[in-house]
C-alpha cells in the first residue's frame, strides 16, 4: 500500500504529473487531473495532442516516463494492464471475429471462472441492456457497425469494471448511427454510474456526451470545464478556435479597462480585461453571436459592415463581412433563414453590425502564439 497522504480520496481516478515522450516528441507533458466517481470525462483535442497516449497510459498499455496514477485510492502507476480495473472500447471495435456476440461478451467472464449459468445470465442481461437481445448467436461480420460497437461495449462492461475507457469509439460509424449511439452511451453511463473517459477529436461529441471536457493541445491541458463553459468561455484562443467556430479580430487594449480599439472603432466588453493600454489583443466572437441589420442598432458596439459574400447553408445563411477601417480582417456571421427574410442583404451592401459586449472575449496577442 502507498503513502496514505497521497491516496486521500480527492478523486476516483487521479492522474498526477504524467509525462510521456517518444524520442524527441513529448506526447504528454506534465499532465494532472482528478476524475470523480461516476463522472463522464472527455479528452478532446486535435490528432497528435496526446489524448490517446494518455488513455493508453491509464490502461497500462504504455509506460509513462514520469508521474503517478491512483484509482480508488490505490497506486496503479506500476501495474500491468491485466492487474488494473478497467474496460476498454476501441474505434476498430476489435471484436474477436471467430467468436459469436455471446462468446465475445462472455470472454472476460470465463477467465473469472464463473459458473456457466451465471455467465449466460450476465450475457443475456447485457444484450438486453444494449437493445440487442436477439443477436447473441451472430458473428461480428454479420452485425452492422453500430451493433458491433454495442457488443464491444457490452464485452467491456461484462466484468463490471470500475473504469470505462473509450478510444474514439464512434469515429468509424456513419453520421446517423454516431448521433444516436452517443446519446445511448451517455444514458447507459448515467444508468450504470460507471466512471468513464472518452477520447475524441469531435467537439460536438464531447459537448453532447461529457460531464466535463478536458481540451488538450501538444500534450498539456488547455482548459477543463463543463461543456457550456468550454463553449461560452474558452480560456484560450486555441480552445475558442478548436471548439466551435470563432472570429478573431485584431485590436489594441484600452484606454478604459474594458475598452478595445478595433480599426477606427471603440468597442466595449462586459468584463474588464485589465490589460495595459495599447497592448495588442485579439477580439473573439462567435458567428452566431454577431447581430446584423436594423435590430442590431439598439445598444452599443455597433459598427458598419460591408457584405463580401453570402452562402446558403440550409437552415441559415453565412455572411462574410469586413468592417470599415479593418479591411484585412474577415468577420463571419450566421443569420437564420427567418431573419434573412426580414433583411435585405446583397453582396456589396452595407449594414449595421453589432458585437454584443457580453458575448465577446478579449485575448492578449501573446496568447495567440502559434495560432493562424
Amino acid at each position: 500500500m502507498s503513502d496514505p497522504d497521497k491516496t486521500v480520496s480527492e478523486g476516483y481516478l487521479r492522474i498526477v504529473n504524467v509525462t510521456k515522450t517518444f524520442g524527441e516528441l513529448v506526447a504528454v507533458n506534465d499532465f494532472s487531473l482528478d476524475i470523480q466517481e461516476g463522472e463522464f470525462v472527455c479528452l478532446l483535442g486535435p490528432s497528435g495532442c496526446g489524448k490517446t497516449t494518455l488513455l493508453r497510459i491509464i490502461a497500462g498499455l504504455e509506460e509513462q516516463n514520469a508521474g503517478e496514477l491512483f484509482q480508488g485510492g490505490e497506486d496503479i502507476s506500476r501495474l500491468p494492464p491485466h492487474q488494473r480495473d478497467f474496460g476498454i472500447v476501441f474505434q476498430s471495435y476489435a471484436l474477436f471475429p471467430n467468436l459469436s456476440a455471446t462468446q465475445n461478451i462472455a470472454y472476460g467472464l470465463e477467465t473469472r471462472k464463473l459458473p456457466k449459468k451465471q455467465i449466460a445470465g450476465r450475457v443475456a442481461e447485457l444484450l438486453k441492456l444494449m437493445g440487442l437481445p436477439d443477436v447473441g448467436h451472430k458473428y461480428p461480420s454479420q452485425l452492422s457497425g453500430g451493433q458491433q460497437q454495442r457488443i464491444a461495449l457490452a464485452r467491456a462492461l461484462a466484468p463490471s469494471p470500475g473504469l470505462m475507457l473509450l478510444d474514439e469509439p464512434l469515429s468509424a460509424l456513419d453520421a446517423r448511427v454516431r448521433v444516436s449511439l452517443r446519446l445511448e452511451i451517455k444514458h447507459l453511463q448515467k444508468q450504470l454510474g460507471i466512471t468513464t473517459i472518452l477520447v475524441t477529436h469531435d467537439q460536438e461529441e464531447a459537448l453532447v456526451m461529457a460531464d466535463r471536457i478536458v481540451v488538450m493541445n501538444a500534450g498539456h491541458i488547455e482548459q477543463v470545464g463543463i461543456p457550456e463553459q468550454i463553449y461560452r468561455s474558452p480560456a484560450t484562443p486555441f480552445v475558442a478556435d478548436f471548439v466551435g467556430v470563432m472570429n478573431f479580430l485584431p485590436g489594441l487594449a484600452g484606454p478604459e479597462p474594458d475598452g478595445v480599439r478595433c480599426g477606427s472603432f471603440k468597442l466595449h466588453c462586459a468584463e474588464p480585461h485589465n490589460l495595459p493600454a495599447d497592448n495588442k489583443v485579439s477580439l473573439a466572437v462567435r458567428p452566431e453571436d454577431v447581430r446584423v441589420g436594423d435590430a442590431a442598432t439598439r445598444g452599443n458596439n455597433v459598427v458598419p459592415g460591408h457584405i463580401d459574400e453570402v452562402e446558403f447553408l440550409g437552415s441559415f445563411y453565412r455572411l462574410t463581412i469586413h468592417l470599415e477601417g479593418l479591411e484585412d480582417a474577415r468577420l463571419v456571421a450566421e443569420v437564420s433563414i427567418n431573419r434573412m427574410r426580414d433583411l435585405e442583404i446583397d453582396v456589396g451592401s452595407t449594414l449595421p453590425v453589432r458585437l454584443p459586449p457580453d458575448l465577446m472575449r478579449i485575448y492578449p496577442s501573446e496568447m495567440m502564439g502559434g495560432m493562424s
Binding site: E63, Q64, I88, L99, Y139, N217
Partner: protein, 584 residues
C-alpha cells in the same frame, strides 16, 4: 469547422524525462512471456548461431582441427587451380540459370496473368509440379533422355554433351522455374489498371506500354525472382551431383572434401565461400522486397487478363504448351523408368524396383516403401515441430509488448536461415552435434536432428508468412484480452490461432513438401538405416541403380501430390468453418 488548419504547438520538456521510465511490475504472465523469448533465443542459438560459428572457426584450423591457421585454408583454396575452379563454376551455373529461368518464367507468368489464352489455370498447375520432386530426379530424367545412352541421343545420334554445365543448367532451370514463376505471377497480378488506362488514353503503342508501364511495375518482382533463382542454382547439390560429371561446383566440392577426403577444414572453408554470395543475394532481396512493399498502395484497381493480338496470343500459348509438355514428359519418363526392367536395353514391365531394394549396401525389407516411410516420419516431425515453433515465435516476436530490442534481434535471426545454404547448415551440424563433448551430441544420428535441420533450412518463408498473417490482425485483440484479464496464451489459443488457421495450414504444407524433397542438409546427417527417400535417390544413383532411383522419385512425387491434396482439403474445411464469420 476549422479544426484542420490548427497548428499543433511543439512542446519542450526537460531532456531528463526521455531516459527515465516508470517501469511496470513484472507479473507472472510477463515472466512466462520472457521465459518463452529466452527459450526461443536458445533454440535459435543452439541450432543456428552455434553450428555456423563452429563451421566458421573450423575453416581457420588445420586439417586435424588442432592448430589455428588463420586464413591459410582460404589462401590454399584460391592458390590451387584445380580447387578454386569450383567457385567460378558455381557462379557460371548460377548466373546462366538465373537469366534463362527468369526470362522463361516471365513469359510464362505474363501469358497466364495478362492474356486470355485457354487453360491458364491448368498450365499454371503443371508449371508448379517440379516443386514436388528432388532436384536430382529431373537430372536423372535428363540422363535417361539426353545422356550417352539416352533415348534422344540414340534416336537422333545427337549428343548434347549433357554431363557438365549443360545438364546442370537444364536441371536448375527446371527446378527453379516454379519458384520464379510464383514471384512473377504475384508481381504481374499487382499491376494497377489505371496506369494502363492512362497510357492508352495517351495513345501509347502496345510495345511502348510494355516497356514503359509493364516492365517498370514488375522490376522488383524480376529482381526478387533473379535472387531466388541465383541462390537455388548456386546452392543446389542434387543436380550437379548426378549430372555434373567432372564439372565441380561449390556444393559438390564441399561434399567431396568432407565425405570423400575427410578434409573437414577445407569443407568448412568452401562452405564459408558458398555462404558469402547467398548472404549478399539475401540482403539485396530484402532491400528489393521492402521497396516493392512501399510501391504497393492500398487502393489499386487490379488489372485483369486482356485479349492480345491473335499472333501474340498464339505465340504465348504455344510457348506455355511447350513448357507444359516438357514438364509432363519429364514425369512421364520417371513413370516409365520406374516400371521398366533395364532402360534402355530391356523395356519390359516390372514392379521389382519398388520391392527389391539395396541402398548403402544393405537390403531393406519392404523395399522402397520402408524408405518412403522414413521420409514421411521425418517430414511429419519437421512439419509439426516446425509449424508450432515458427508460428508461436512469430507471435512472441510480433505481438508482445516491451523488450523491443530483444524482439528485433530475434526477428533478424529468424529471417537469416534463408541465406544459409543447406550444405552449409548440414556440415555445420556435423561440427557441433558429432562432437562427443557437446551436450547435444545425443541428437546425432537421430531422425530429430534431420528434422531440425530441415526446419532451419526452410525456416524463413514460413516465419514471414506467419508474421504477415499476424500483422493483418487487429493489434487491439491483445489489449482487449488483457483488459478482460485473459492470459495472453488464452487469447492466442482462442482467437489468434483460429483466425490464422489458413496461414498455419499453408506453413505446414510448405514444411511437409520441402521435407520430402530436400537432400542438401541431410547428406551429412543421415546414418545407415535412417535414410530418407530423397537421399536414397542419390545413393541409388551413386550405386548405378537408376531404375530404383526412378521408382523412389515416383513415390516421392505421388506422396507430395497426395499430401498437397490433403492440405487442400484441410484448407477447404477450415474455409467452410470460417465462412460463417468472414462473410455476411
Amino acid at each position: 469547422m476549422t479544426t484542420t488548419d490548427l497548428p499543433v504547438k511543439t512542446a519542450t520538456v526537460t531532456k531528463g524525462f526521455q531516459r527515465q521510465r516508470v517501469r511496470q511490475k513484472l507479473s507472472a504472465e510477463d515472466i512466462l512471456q520472457r521465459s518463452l523469448l529466452v527459450l526461443l533465443a536458445a533454440w535459435l542459438f543452439v541450432f543456428l548461431i552455434w553450428p555456423l560459428y563452429r563451421s566458421l572457426t573450423r575453416s581457420m584450423f588445420d586439417k586435424a582441427g588442432e592448430e589455428f591457421v588463420g586464413i591459410a585454408n582460404y589462401i590454399k583454396y584460391f592458390s590451387t587451380a584445380s580447387t578454386s575452379v569450383s567457385l567460378r563454376h558455381s557462379f557460371n551455373i548460377a548466373i546462366t540459370s538465373m537469366v534463362i529461368t527468369v526470362v522463361l518464367a516471365f513469359i510464362f507468368a505474363y501469358a497466364i496473368t495478362r492474356t486470355t489464352i485457354r487453360g491458364r489455370s491448368f498450365l499454371s498447375a503443371i508449371a508448379r509440379l517440379p516443386m514436388f520432386v528432388p532436384s536430382l530426379a529431373q537430372a536423372l530424367v535428363f540422363i535417361y533422355v539426353f545422356g550417352n545412352n539416352g533415348i534422344f541421343t540414340r534416336a537422333t545420334g545427337i549428343n548434347i554433351g549433357l554431363y557438365g554445365p549443360v545438364g546442370i543448367v537444364m536441371s536448375e532451370v527446371f527446378y527453379a522455374f516454379p519458384h520464379a514463376l510464383i514471384i512473377l505471377v504475384a508481381a504481374l497480378s499487382m499491376a494497377d489498371a489505371r496506369l494502363y488506362e492512362a497510357a492508352q488514353s495517351l495513345r501509347a503503342s502496345a510495345t511502348r506500354i510494355f516497356f514503359t508501364v509493364t516492365l517498370p511495375s514488375v522490376r522488383y518482382g524480376l529482381m526478387s525472382a533473379a535472387f531466388v533463382v541465383f541462390t537455388l542454382a548456386m546452392t543446389d547439390f542434387g543436380a550437379p551431383k548426378v549430372v555434373g560429371g567432372n564439372y565441380d561446383v561449390l556444393a559438390t566440392d564441399i561434399y567431396n572434401k568432407v565425405v570423400g577426403q575427410q578434409d573437414f577444414a577445407m569443407g568448412a572453408t568452401i562452405s564459408t565461400l558458398l555462404l558469402i554470395p547467398t548472404m549478399v543475394a539475401f540482403v539485396l532481396d530484402r532491400i528489393v522486397q521492402r521497396r516493392q512493399l512501399a510501391q504497393v498502395t492500398a487502393d489499386i484497381t487490379p488489372l485483369g487478363p486482356k485479349r492480345h493480338s491473335p499472333l501474340t496470343q498464339f505465340a504465348l500459348f504455344s510457348f506455355c504448351v511447350l513448357v507444359a509438355v516438357f514438364i509432363i514428359s519429364t514425369y512421364g519418363v520417371v513413370l516409365v523408368g520406374a516400371f521398366t526392367r533395364y532402360w534402355p536395353y530391356d523395356l519390359s514391365f516390372t514392379t521389382q524396383h519398388f520391392t527389391r531394394f539395396y541402398v548403402a549396401g544393405a537390403h531393406h525389407r519392404g523395399g522402397s516403401f520402408i524408405i518412403l516411410w522414413n521420409s514421411i516420419k521425418m517430414a511429419t516431425i519437421a512439419t509439426i515441430a516446425g509449424t508450432s515453433i515458427v508460428f508461436s515465435s512469430a507471435y512472441l516476436i510480433e505481438k508482445t509488448r516491451r523488450l523491443n530490442w530483444a524482439r528485433s534481434i530475434l526477428y533478424l535471426l529468424s529471417i537469416t536461415p534463408l541465406a544459409v545454404p543447406g550444405m552449409v547448415l548440414g556440415l555445420s551440424y556435423i561440427f557441433l552435434f558429432n562432437d562427443p563433448a557437446n551436450p547435444f551430441n545425443f541428437l546425432y544420428g537421430t531422425m530429430s536432428i534431420m528434422a531440425i535441420s530441415t526446419i532451419f533450412h526452410y525456416y524463413t518463408v514460413p516465419f514471414l508468412t506467419a508474421t504477415t498473417a499476424l500483422k493483418q490482425m487487429d493489434p487491439e485483440f491483445e489489449y482487449i484480452g488483457e483488459s478482460l484479464k485473459a492470459p495472453f496464451y488464452r487469447t492466442f489459443m482462442r482467437v489468434i490461432v483460429p483466425v490464422a488457421l489458413p496461414a498455419i495450414i499453408s506453413i505446414a504444407m510448405y514444411f511437409f513438401l520441402n521435407a520430402l524433397v530436400t537432400i542438401s542438409a541431410l547428406v551429412f546427417l543421415f546414418v545407415p538405416g535412417k535414410e530418407v527417400a530423397s537421399l536414397a535417390v542419390m545413393l541409388l544413383d551413386d550405386a548405378g541403380e537408376s531404375a530404383q532411383a526412378m521408382a523412389l522419385s515416383l513415390l516421392i512425387f505421388v506422396t507430395g501430390l497426395a499430401s498437397r491434396g490433403i492440405f487442400h482439403l484441410m484448407t477447404r474445411g477450415v474455409e467452410a468453418r470460417t465462412q460463417a464469420w468472414t462473410h455476411r
